[in-house]
């Protein structure tokens, strides 16, 4: 187990290397620079600015310098937000996105798994059809459509929730539902499919024959095994939720990191682009690692080697 975690952490090195090189090359390949403006600045000023941000160094040196800073958690200054460092921006905006992502992920997990469980236990009943119908709807309404619909119904008509912005727990509800619904749907569908397979296994019959209570059979014997395939999509889902927050942050005017990413690409704010991409990639890899560890907890047959 310990060795496994160490190996996964070492795996981060090539991942971060490749992701950072691709991002770095691509963002510098985009024509234009951070100092382009409607009214062109005099060349001397641009030269000075480039010198200040070391943008006149050869590219490989800029890359090495950046990565040297990155491993010391010094992400450099933001070019378009003059008074702020990238560390400041991440420290303020990342918790917002993480909060939204976690809330959505919780909705997906704790909504999706029970939904799938109920429809598998009561296969072909009204409850099954209803929850699979809901899942199909959730899967088919993209968050850029669901967001405005939810705002219109629950904020503008019913006035139960604020229309947009961020700040109190009640502000989290609509955006988290918007972001989490599609993943809730896929969790529900996968849980159902995998439960239906598991409850036909011999050990379930054995447990029943021994007179174990129905609920215990379902929750302890069946669900635990049914969750193994479900946990495989948990990692990718989390990554999807985190990056998907770009749209939701836009619709609900939430000051998260996703909104910053799109504007920083437009502004050629190189340090912000690099930092955001790397932090997202780290989050994805970290989440996948948690998922791999959770396999072992769910299924002791799986060995880490």
């Amino acid at each position: 187990m310990f060795e496994f975690i160490v190996r996964r952490i070492l795996w981060l090195i090539p991942v971060i290397f490749v992701v950072s090189v691709i991002t770095f090359v691509l963002m510098h390949a985009v024509p234009g620079g951070p100092f382009d403006a409607e009214k062109a600045l005099p060349q001397a000023i641009i030269d000075n600015l480039n010198a200040k941000y070391h943008l006149d160094d050869p590219l490989w040196k800029q890359y090495v310098d950046y990565m040297y800073g990155f491993i010391r958690f010094d992400l450099g200054p933001s070019i378009s937000y003059r008074s702020r460092t990238v560390n400041d921006i991440l420290a303020q905006q990342w918790p917002v996105t993480a909060m939204l992502g976690l809330a959505s992920f919780a909705i997906a997990l704790f909504g999706g798994i029970p939904l799938g469980l109920i429809s598998a236990i009561k296969q072909n009943s009204l409850a099954d059809y209803a929850s699979m119908g809901i899942s199909m709807l959730g899967l088919s309404i993209p968050n850029m459509a669901l967001g405005p619909l939810l705002i219109w119904i629950f904020a503008l008509r019913l006035k139960w929730f604020p229309v947009a912005t961020w700040g109190s727990p009640i502000h989290v509800v609509l955006p988290a539902i918007t972001l989490g619904t599609a993943y809730m749907a896929s969790f529900a569908r996968l849980t159902r499919a995998s439960m239906l397979q598991v409850i036909r296994e011999d050990y379930i019959q054995t447990a029943r024959a021994k007179g174990v209570k129905h609920t215990t059979v379902m929750l302890k014997h069946a669900l635990r095994n049914a969750l193994i395939p479900v946990s495989t999509i948990a990692g990718p889902s989390f990554a999807g939720i985190m990056t998907g927050s770009m749209i939701v942050e836009r619709i609900f005017a939430i000051p998260g990191i996703g909104k910053y990413y799109v504007t920083s690409v437009g502004n050629r704010d190189y340090p912000v682009i690099m930092a955001t991409t790397l932090v997202f990639a780290l989050a994805v890899v970290f989440m996948n690692m948690l998922v791999d560890i959770s396999y072992g907890i769910l299924d002791p047959r799986i060995r880490y080697n």
Binding site: R192, L196, R250, N288
Partner: protein
């Protein structure tokens, strides 16, 4: 006498047709009501997209300032948008963009993924290891971030008008497609990874089968082994996986157009229309409602169809 008659009767009965995997799959697909509904919607969408010029009551750029934010009425069934353009007509033309993204995305990711997976799985060894490590690393790349970077790169590098050069050719082609070419390239580059992994795994398992050994024993060339023996046996799961991915391609296009990196205005895309609509939705909810309905119905149909295709090819799964 009795014997003879029985033989004759048996001869009269049709010999059972040989059943291939494809015929079986087709039969199961046709029996699946949800998939038929999905297929019918997709089919109608294709008709609408192809015949947009005849079906749409107005052109997608046609607008008049007096019609700005016009409420739905008898001549504009869904009203008009912020530039006085007919919403229904723009929705109809928008179907073209979504469907094109679906089909071209599926095709490119299928081609790249299948070739990459086949090569990796068939060659095996060090090549396979290196190719798959690359896929693993790319999986850690947040796809949406990569696609945003790629789109900004394409849009700004190829925005020049340089007749005669390759860049000029690409940018001209992209402009004539309303900005769709680069969306296709972006989707193609970012979405083949899962397919490559799947195909590689299947190739590895097929390679160990007896019929492959037989093919090698009679001296079939490598190309023949791949195309005659491996490829047909992995095609089914590949199609299933691609069918399930199609809604994702539609979403990619809508996402890019929503954040302003997709189609060029005035080309109508449902994602772009949602973006224009949600800003003014307090007073003009129809501008966001209709594109939302259109894209949801389309995804609904493709999801049903994809589920149907999966169940048809893999009937052992209990759903």
């Amino acid at each position: 006498m009795g014997m003879e008659r029985r033989v004759r009767r048996a001869e009269k009965q049709k010999a059972p047709k040989p059943r291939s995997l494809w015929r079986d799959a087709m039969r199961r697909l046709i029996r699946n009501k949800a998939a038929i509904v999905g297929g019918f919607i997709v089919f109608s969408l294709v008709i609408v997209a192809i015949g947009a010029n005849w079906i749409a009551p107005y052109g997608y750029t046609e607008g008049h300032i007096r019609d700005n934010y016009l409420a739905p009425n008898s001549s504009h069934l869904m009203g008009c948008d912020f530039m006085g353009r007919d919403v229904l007509s723009r929705l109809i033309y928008g179907a073209r963009v979504s469907l094109a993204a679906a089909f071209v995305g599926a095709l490119t990711s299928f081609l790249i993924g299948v070739i990459y997976g086949l090569v990796s799985g068939f060659l095996g060894g060090k090549v396979d290891n290196a190719m798959m490590r690359f896929v693993d690393i790319m999986f850690a790349f947040p796809t949406l971030l990569l696609i945003i970077l790629l789109m900004v790169y394409f849009k700004s590098t190829f925005s020049v008008i340089e007749p005669g050069t390759f860049r000029g050719f690409l940018s001209g082609l992209d402009r004539s497609m309303g900005g769709m070419l680069f969306i296709f390239i972006g989707i193609g580059i970012t979405s083949w990874l899962g397919m490559a992994r799947l195909i590689r795994g299947m190739t590895l398992s097929v390679r160990e089968k007896e019929y492959m050994e037989a093919a090698r024993a009679i001296g079939a060339s490598r190309t023949r082994q791949v195309f005659r023996h491996v490829f047909p046996n992995i095609l089914g799961p590949a199609i299933v996986s691609q069918a399930l991915q199609i809604p994702g391609f539609i979403l990619y296009e809508a996402f890019l157009s929503f954040i302003g990196l997709g189609v060029n205005p005035p080309t109508p895309s449902w994602g772009a229309m949602l973006n224009e609509g949600y800003i003014g939705m307090r007073s003009h909810f129809n501008l966001v409602l209709w594109p939302a309905v259109a894209i949801s119905i389309t995804l609904f149909a493709f999801n049903f169809l994809g589920d149907g295709v999966r169940d048809a090819f893999d009937p052992r799964q209990t759903r």
